[in-house]
């Protein structure tokens, strides 16, 4: 096979891996949308908040230290201890559950039965609030995140493929880990929503709020549960992206990558998020590889949206989304 073809195969493989990372962000959107009909604009910021909280806990940073010092005139920044990664992840998860409770208690409790656009606007407000809270709690500076994930080129694959084809394929170890984690997440979430009691309740709420309430399902509990799971997914996405680039504000912009994935895969389908992510990942990389040079490069951002828009024309509900029929 000519080298050009091998390179194209390498681009496709890496596109698939990038797609998995996009899907990780999209997954959080889908979970909340399915259960509550809320398009959670703050999902990207939740990833930033979760990752910043994780680093802060690991480093023993005093939350809100700038604020405390400014008000009390003290000079405290660190507790002086370091928390092991696993324990810090569990503690961050607890913070995300607390956040889920707070979001429902102080925001969405008052917005039940409101128009979707109002709920969406509330999540925009939540995104700004979380951005500020994250900076205030942990500072806006770059934080390095090391939870022991492997990074760098997978040497085995490089050597094996070089031995076989005379062309060493590149895959980042972190991308492999992200793919495995995403697979586990999707399988777990699918099984959970299909077979567990809470999962069935979750689907009941998704189908019809009022009918679910009438059979004794607690809307409040389900929403807290869903926001907690979305918080967990945000934490996982934050760890994967944060390990690559450090934890900084740009993590919150990942949401921009998830949007075309959702448009393509459908807002209500967990497998749709994965398939959508893979199509966007491969599509944008292949386009950049084949035609990007002719267009001055940096085509990936807009190409993802163009691809999603094309899908929208022919299949507005996305590949796996439910077709919404509204009768007047």
């Amino acid at each position: 096979m000519p080298e050009q073809l091998f390179f194209a195969a390498e681009v496709i493989m890496n596109g698939l891996m990038a797609g998995v990372l996009y899907a990780l962000v999209a997954l959080g959107f889908v979970l909340i949308y399915k259960a509550s009909g809320i398009f959670n604009y703050s999902q990207g910021v939740m990833a930033l908040f979760a990752a910043a909280t994780l680093v802060g806990i690991m480093d023993g940073q005093v939350p809100f230290s700038h604020l405390i010092n400014a008000i009390l005139g003290t000079n405290v920044h660190h507790f002086g201890w370091h928390v092991p990664a696993v324990l810090a992840i569990l503690m961050t998860m607890a913070v995300m559950v607390l956040l889920a409770w707070a979001v429902n208690r102080f925001v969405f409790k008052y917005l039940v039965n409101q128009e979707a656009i109002i709920l969406f606007m509330a999540t925009i407000g939540l995104a700004y609030f979380l951005e500020g809270t994250s900076d205030l709690m942990w500072g806006g500076q770059l934080k390095t995140l090391d939870v022991g994930l492997p990074q760098g080129m997978n040497a085995t694959l490089d050597e094996v493929t070089f031995g076989m084809f005379g062309y060493g394929f590149f895959i980042d170890n972190l991308d492999i880990v992200a793919s495995i984690v995403a697979l586990i997440l999707v399988v777990t979430l699918t099984v959970y929503s299909q077979y567990s009691k809470q999962g069935r309740a979750l689907r009941a709420v998704a189908d019809d709020h009022q009918a679910a309430l009438s059979v004794g399902i607690s809307l409040n509990f389900i929403w807290i549960l869903v926001w907690s799971i979305a918080g967990f997914v945000a934490l996982v996405a934050g760890i994967m992206w944060g390990a690559k680039s450090g934890v900084q504000f740009s993590l919150s912009l990942m949401a921009l990558k998830a949007l075309p994935v959702l448009m393509l895969g459908g807002f209500t389908s967990i497998p749709g998020a994965i398939v959508g992510g893979l199509i966007i990942g491969v599509g944008e990389k292949l386009f950049e590889f084949t035609l990007g040079g002719m267009m001055g490069g940096a085509t990936e951002n807009w190409f993802a949206y163009v691809l999603a828009l094309i899908f929208l024309v022919f299949r507005p509900q996305g590949l796996f989304g439910e077709k919404i029929i509204e009768r007047v």
Partner: protein, 427 residues
């Protein structure tokens, strides 16, 4: 009617009073947004230097400094809003820390008779003071940076880089595109092959670009990045095992923030600089005493000595020295923006001056003139030592290729002058 008039005049005087009694500087900073991680240390350094001047020296020439901070979030529209909102307060000089904002403010600041200092960024041809009367970009600009990088590569290759492949990974914005013209001209002169690889904002995903680099194996990679783009690019370079000593970033791609996420792998990465590094300077003892220990540090005071903190410090120092020059020229401590412009145009930075300030050998010596608003284009190359966790200079400050750059600057500024009907102003 009379009462209304008196009330209005009194109110206007009350509003204007603080600005009249002080020297007002602006800090168009970004402590929030996608580039906050870099904006914070720069803003801290900039602010701390002015605080030091107030606390230690009682201001400049006996006039206290009033620093007006406005958050731009590195957003061009917000930057312009900040300018419009603060210019009425008598701001002496603007330093927008964004090429996008700079391009918008060039005609506005010129019309308002307020000088602007775009140190190491902005429109390169603004070096030509004949055309750009109010814009200054000393001590170096992007084209100097491009030339300094190529000169360093020439040095490493015994003066011959013909046939070599050099790739430019750049932020797909006005900033990132600035060096392309120069690199193309230098390619004609030195015979290297240039490949351009654009990365879209914010630069979190660069797999395509680095797969291409892995495949084509350019001999050198130059980077014009900012924010997360830098750290991702360095991580991707580590991932594909690109030799880090052949990877050179512009001065905006060479802070601790850029290399730390990649850990040990970033060891050997190079970047350019137009000022020195670290905190081993007498000035830092004063910063500790009058600013940090006094609880007056901007932010947490934890950025001191970092690359971008030092850059903010340096920018403020150059502004203060220009203000002092303006005070000398006009024989008054209460200078106006127009007088500040004169001070900037007559600024001279000597080694004696830097030593007296407490920053010996902190940057290149240079002088500004009516024709030359950009200094002499000196820069140095630094390298990251991951084990020590610090940058160190690996060259002295050396000059860019003025033979190539000056005609380019003349050409670009002439086009701007023709477009805007600007007559040459220097005799």
């Amino acid at each position: 009617m009379k009462l209304k008039l008196i009330t209005a005049v009194t109110a206007a005087m009350m509003v204007a009073a603080p600005a009249m009694a002080e020297l007002t500087f602006s800090a168009l900073s970004y402590r929030t947004g996608p580039y906050a991680a870099n904006g914070i240390p720069f803003a801290d350094g900039y602010q701390d230097y002015f605080t030091l001047m107030n606390e230690r020296d009682g201001g400049i020439g006996g006039e206290r400094i009033n620093l007006v901070e406005c958050e731009t979030a590195y957003n061009t529209e917000k930057g312009v809003e900040c300018y419009e909102a603060t210019k009425g307060q008598g701001v002496l000089v603007y330093q927008p820390l964004s090429t996008g904002i700079t391009y918008q403010l060039i005609p506005k600041a010129t019309a308002d008779n307020i000088p602007m200092h775009t140190m190491g960024y902005g429109r390169t041809s603004a070096k030509n003071g004949n055309t750009f009367s109010h814009i200054f970009n000393y001590p170096a600009n992007y084209w100097d940076g491009a030339s300094i990088a190529i000169k360093h590569i020439l040095d490493v290759n015994n003066g011959d880089i013909s046939g070599k492949k050099i790739a430019l990974v750049y932020h797909n914005s006005a900033y990132g595109k600035e060096p392309i013209r120069t690199l193309e001209e230098l390619a004609k002169k030195h015979g290297y092959e240039l490949t351009l690889l654009a990365v879209d904002h914010p630069g979190q995903e660069q797999k395509s670009q680095w797969l291409q680099i892995r495949r084509e194996r350019p001999d050198y990679v130059l980077m014009w990045g900012w924010g997360v783009m830098n750290s991702v690019a360095i991580q991707e370079a580590v991932n594909i095992r690109y030799p880090m000593e052949n990877f050179i970033g512009i001065w905006w791609s060479g802070s601790e923030n850029d290399v730390l996420p990649a850990g040990e792998g970033a060891n050997g990465y190079k970047a350019l600089t137009f000022h020195n590094l670290g905190s081993d300077y007498p000035l830092y003892a004063d910063l500790q005493q009058y600013v940090k220990d006094a609880g007056k540090a901007a932010g947490a005071g934890d950025q001191m000595g970092t690359v971008l903190y030092n850059r903010g410090l340096y920018a403020a120092m150059l502004a203060v020295e220009a203000a002092k020059t303006a005070q000398e020229i006009h024989g008054t401590a209460q200078i106006t923006p127009a007088m500040m412009r004169d001070g900037m145009e007559a600024l001279e930075i000597t080694e004696e001056k830097m030593a007296a300030i407490g920053l010996p050998n902190f940057g290149p010596t240079f002088s500004v003139s009516c024709e030359n608003h950009g200094g002499d284009g000196f820069g140095a190359v630094k390298q990251w030592d991951a084990a020590a966790g610090e940058w160190s200079l690996i060259t002295d400050f050396f000059q860019s290729d003025q033979d190539v750059l000056n005609p380019l600057i003349a050409e670009d500024s002439a086009a701007y002058a023709a477009e805007n009907n600007i007559a040459a102003r220097c005799e």
